[in-house]
């Protein structure tokens, strides 16, 4: 990852939460957020860097054909989608949802059962059903969101965890999920070294779709309403934001993409079990990835997922023991949180903004108001 990439991330950095305390700051924050992506577009260098990364992702499986590496890349893409979609709700609204495995697993079960019932074959025909998986997850998100979003803060977190466990227990105990023996997906007709490639490109397509959606949400009035809820929900409500509707819409949108990528993930794995579909570690992993990169930013969850998921897959493959990756994963996260409490992307973009100011000879007085200036620079 080059520094150019990090600089481009500055366009997505979230507004400082501290600004919520100042009533007059609302207008400035709105502008700062709306103007966010534009300076990034102005610079051809950053645009070039983004295009280069995109191109690298497109040609990746053509250049590197080692199945182990492409499988790791596929898993990284899956989690990049999951973390981006999770961030679309939790990052923007500040509601920490720790139950997104509900949508991930339900997407997997939806695809497995649809293929089974409709007699759809593996590979491309099953990929065509992925949007349906997203819709199933979104439909599940409606009642879940209606119930969970009645609560706030830590109670919301616990309710999402409780709902997650309800789904896991139901999946173990009802007939149509096959209980502990799970459901199998049709085997795809791909073979040999190119087996992973179609999965990779479908995941990549979903990633482009979800990142674009996340970017559009961030730029839109809807996104600003979500940020307002994050900063002060009661005030947002007082100012006329339909908070319940906004929160629920974001929740459903986020569930849609997680369900879709869940379907693809389990299509690749080949079978769905209750403990893999509804895995508490998934709930945590997406949140950790988004936090690692920077909550509420566009590039943060992408970076977090790319780093953490590749690391996890690499550690699992090289040591064949889940214990080591658990330790490495936890320790890495703790270290990052201690050094960069706001996540990698916001901290580094702040650092770069500070450097840039020093370079243009900003006085020490200006330095004191730096956080404000950095806001405008974004």
């Amino acid at each position: 990852m080059t520094l150019d990439k990090q600089t481009s991330a500055a366009g997505d950095a979230p507004a400082s939460p501290a600004a919520a305390a100042a009533p007059g700051a609302g207008g400035d924050r709105t502008q700062a957020a709306a103007a966010g992506p534009q300076p990034a577009l102005r610079s051809p260098l950053r645009l070039g860097a983004r295009g280069l990364i995109l191109l690298a992702l497109v040609v990746f499986p053509l250049v590197i054909t080692d199945p182990t590496t492409t499988a790791i890349a596929f898993f990284a893409l899956v989690f990049m989608v999951a973390a981006t979609s999770w961030n679309m709700f939790s990052g923007y609204s500040g509601y920490l949802a720790l139950g997104h495995a509900v949508f991930f697993g339900s997407g997997g079960y939806a695809l497995a059962l649809l293929c089974q019932q409709l007699g759809v074959g593996g590979g491309w025909p099953s990929f065509a059903l992925l949007p349906l998986c997203g819709i199933v997850a979104a439909l599940i998100a409606v009642p879940v969101g209606l119930i969970a979003l009645r609560t706030r803060r830590h109670t919301f977190v616990v309710v999402t965890i409780a709902i997650f466990f309800i789904f896991q227990l139901v999946a173990y105990n009802v007939g149509f999920t096959g209980g502990t023996s799970g459901v199998f997906l049709p085997a795809p007709p791909f073979s040999g070294a190119s087996f992973n490639t179609p999965f990779y490109y479908v995941a990549f397509a979903i990633l482009v779709l979800s990142v674009t959606t996340s970017w559009l949400v961030r730029r839109s009035r809807f996104g600003l309403q979500l940020l307002a809820i994050r900063d002060d929900e009661d005030r947002a409500l007082g100012l006329g934001v339909k908070t319940r509707r906004v929160k629920l819409s974001a929740f459903i949108l986020s569930a849609f993409f997680v369900g879709m990528i869940g379907g693809l993930y389990f299509d690749f794995i080949g079978q769905v079990f209750p403990n893999t579909a509804y895995d508490p570690l998934f709930d945590l992993a997406v949140a950790l990835m988004a936090f690692f990169g920077g909550l509420g930013t566009l590039t943060g969850p992408l970076l977090g997922a790319a780093v953490l998921e590749s690391l996890q897959q690499y550690l699992t493959l090289s040591f064949s023991s889940s214990a080591l990756y658990l330790i490495a994963y936890g320790v890495l996260f703790l270290v990052v949180i201690l050094i960069m409490p706001r996540g990698v992307v916001p901290e580094i973009s702040d650092l770069l903004a500070r450097r840039r100011l020093k370079a243009i000879g900003a006085s020490r007085a200006a330095d004191k108001q730096l956080s404000g200036v950095a806001e405008v620079l974004r």
Binding site: T155, V157, I161, A162, L169, N173, L284, L288, F333, L334
Partner: protein, 294 residues
């Protein structure tokens, strides 16, 4: 289902509820003082159980005498976690960040336990684990009675400490208003560190009774923490009496449903009960309504 089985399920629920109340009291104490939700509380109970197992298998120290070693160890673990991680979290998003940080601590502990002990199920044993006494037509296992008695004694002790001692007043003061407590000369950081130490320390005791009455492996922490969170949220975060009430409530539901219907559906019933209660009363059964803070 017969009346006797029903009554037996209720008694079982109350007795195990005592031990759960003890674990939940630790969780709720940490939350009350620090606004931190300790997701690692579940795996810490399992860690306590493994420590007792090691002491009894390799050093021949009994489960109850072993507590003299494990409780101080867990206390120190709590102090260390508070010192290195919790203290560094910013005030404005402390609760949210604490969930992730303690979750990360939990998976580190889970990883260490898996690497050391593997994933096979273990259970603690002692002479009083399998014996029982006959009271009013019921066979009550000794370990349940000892656990319940010890949990109640500790909860009463905790209550006394919080409401009758100078340290308890300091804890409650820092719980109500950090700045004001600072101003009247309370060392808030010290109070917090000790409170977290106590909150984690009780998991060693709970671990012995959990480990003796349930088979456990390093994965058991998830199931446990989901129950504990259900209990503390239902009881109202920060309320020890609420945690006791909710623990007994949930465990009685659990045992009655398990006896009357099926053990596999029991957790679903109480999670559903939790979700229903919270959507009607977001502050929990015994909690106070949230005051808008700003």
């Amino acid at each position: 289902m017969s009346g006797t089985a029903f009554l037996e399920a209720i008694i079982d629920g109350i007795l195990t509820g005592g031990v759960y109340a003890l674990m939940a009291a630790g969780l709720t104490l940490i939350f009350g003082v620090m606004d931190i939700i300790n997701i690692a509380q579940g795996i810490m109970v399992i860690l306590g159980a493994y420590l007792s197992l090691e002491l009894s298998v390799h050093f021949g120290i009994g489960l109850l005498p072993g507590l003299l070693i494990t409780v101080p160890l867990m206390f120190c673990l709590g102090v260390a976690i508070e010192f290195f991680f919790m203290r560094r979290l910013h005030d404005e998003d402390r609760t949210k960040m604490s969930i992730l940080v303690t979750y990360a601590v939990a998976i580190v502990i889970e990883g260490i336990l898996t690497a050391t002990f593997g994933v096979n199920y273990q259970q603690l044993s002692a002479s009083y684990v399998n014996s029982s006494v006959y009271v009013f037509g019921f066979y009550l296992p000794d370990i349940y009675l000892i656990g319940f008695g010890m949990a109640i004694a500790l909860l009463v002790g905790l209550y006394y400490m919080l409401y009758r001692t100078k340290f308890g007043r300091a804890v409650r003061a820092s719980l109500q208003n950090r700045t004001a407590a600072d101003l009247i000369g309370i060392d808030v950081n010290r109070v917090r560190t000790i409170s977290v130490g106590i909150g984690v320390g009780v998991t060693a005791i709970a671990g012995v009774f959990f480990g003796a009455t349930n088979a456990f492996n390093p994965n058991s922490g998830y199931d446990l923490i989901s129950r504990l969170l259900a209990i503390v949220i239902l009881g109202g975060m920060g309320s020890i009496a609420g945690a006791m009430g909710a623990a007994v409530f949930i465990l009685v539901i659990n045992d009655v449903v398990a006896a009357w219907w099926s053990p596999t559906w029991a957790p679903i019933v109480y999670f559903v009960a939790l979700v229903v209660v919270l959507s009607i009363r977001p502050q929990g059964l015994f909690g106070r309504a949230a005051v808008r803070t700003q």
